[in-house]
Amino acid sequence: MQDYDVLIVGGGHAGAQTAVALRQRGYEGSVAIVCEEAAPPYERPPLSKEYLSGDRSADDILIRPPAFWAQAGIDLHTGRRAVAVEADARRVTLGDGATVGYRHLVWAAGGAPRRLTCAGHALAGVHSVRTREDVDRMRAELASVDRVVVIGGGYIGLEAAAALAKAGKRVTVVEALPRVLARVAGEILSRFYEAEHRAHGVEVRLDTAVECIEGSGGRAAGVRLHGGELLPCEMVIVGIGIVPAVRPLRDAGAGGDNGVDVDEHCRTDLPGVFAIGDCAAHVNRYAGGARVRLESVQNANDQAAVVAHALTGSPKPYDAVPWFWSFQYDLRLQTVGLSTGHDEVVVRGEVASRRFSLVYLKEGRIVALDCVNTVKDFAQGKALILRDDIPREVLADSSRPLKQAVPAAV
């Protein structure tokens, strides 16, 4: 394969947007994306939402029409995996033995779904929700599925549960912790979603650990819980997070123990090598200055922009307010900021009305808002993040726009 000025490994949200942003900023060097998946870049969020439910097709979720890439002068090498990086020689080796030289390498490989390690984890009928092929496999089986067990009560597991419950399946969500969404949201939101799922016929089992997956004829037939109970089912969905896909970079000497460490310009400590998106551990002031990996479309896109700026001679450090969304049933959740470590929550509006926002504070500073069916709070809330001068009674009064809470002339 020819050498490239910019070689991007991974054609997900971060990799695709890096290539687009480079061209948009007038970058004239050669640019290629090498991606393990066969499909041209597509959006991942619909996989657990409209693509699983069948409301959007494979074409509908493409990030750009297939002809776009060649037109923009971006070489797409799909179906090829990067297996080794030689940082000093500035060269990547692919799975088929081919080598590709680069001037700048952008590692945007995301993560692989964390797998169960218990007995039965590899049986047919056990799925993760990370790639379009994962969901295609699920959908091909759905006609013969009545009962589904979802292991893991994070956003992806809950979205899949909602889509399948709406499709008439009998769904059970098994969560090891005492509440769903425990790592990403406050208890009020967890309890709200648990109640919503139950109201839609989903069984939610908390504080519940999985012992193994039982099979019959090579297919999953049930999930055995710690303590012995069996949940019979025809499909198991495992949504227990991802493992960052950074092996070749780590082998090449890049630092980091949760993904790959990057600086404010998304540079790793290998020369000429950037890392962005789900696999990039960066210091984030919205996380109180902690080093974090963020798994969101916002982070993937905004870090792609940081790399494009760095490579076009106008470096701009990464400093974007995190935001995220999740759709379940008729509930549109939009989050701005990071609620991790909050010590106070103000509720805006009535939770029972299914239209409310939660304002999270840490040491008196607003760190995040979870907005359920309240786009207005989401849109206005962004300006409140990291402020410590907003009276609680204003935050709590949903009849007063959050905008009014921000003192003028900031």
Partner: protein, 126 residues
């Protein structure tokens, strides 16, 4: 939305199954470069602008009404025939620094025959 449902039904019939009627509109990018784009009836205006090569339309959330990076300004006679804004579109746009009376979120607009001749200008980045 409701105001246009009848028109959309007409267009669908006129287009017929499998055929795509194209509607010409003028798209102007951030650097002032304008081009006539033939947008397909029933597609998202945001996707048509991006597909036409206006890379500056980031549209990060791909139509989820969460990012406002698909912000455009509409003009021409056809602008008066656009379906009214939904609540979410209005509330998200309200916070844009570059909002004008002609602002719309292009991901919330489905192309219809009535939009022939529309002028669409990509809004400055917030």
């Amino acid at each position: 939305m409701i105001a246009t449902s009848e028109d959309e039904a007409d267009v669908a019939v006129a287009g017929g199954a499998g055929t795509l009627s194209l509607v010409p509109m003028l798209v102007i990018g951030r650097s002032g470069d304008g081009r006539v784009v033939e947008a397909g009836v029933g597609t998202s205006l945001m996707e048509e602008i991006r597909a036409a090569g206006f890379l500056e339309l980031r549209a990060i959330c791909n139509g989820c009404c969460s990012c406002a990076t698909c912000h455009v300004q509409v003009g021409g006679e056809a602008a008066g025939r656009l379906p009214p804004m939904g609540e979410e579109e209005r509330e998200l746009l309200a916070e844009s620094e570059n909002r004008t009376a002609r602002s719309r979120l292009s991901c919330q607009i489905t192309v219809t025959q009535e939009m022939a001749g529309l002028t669409v200008t990509v809004a400055p980045e917030d």
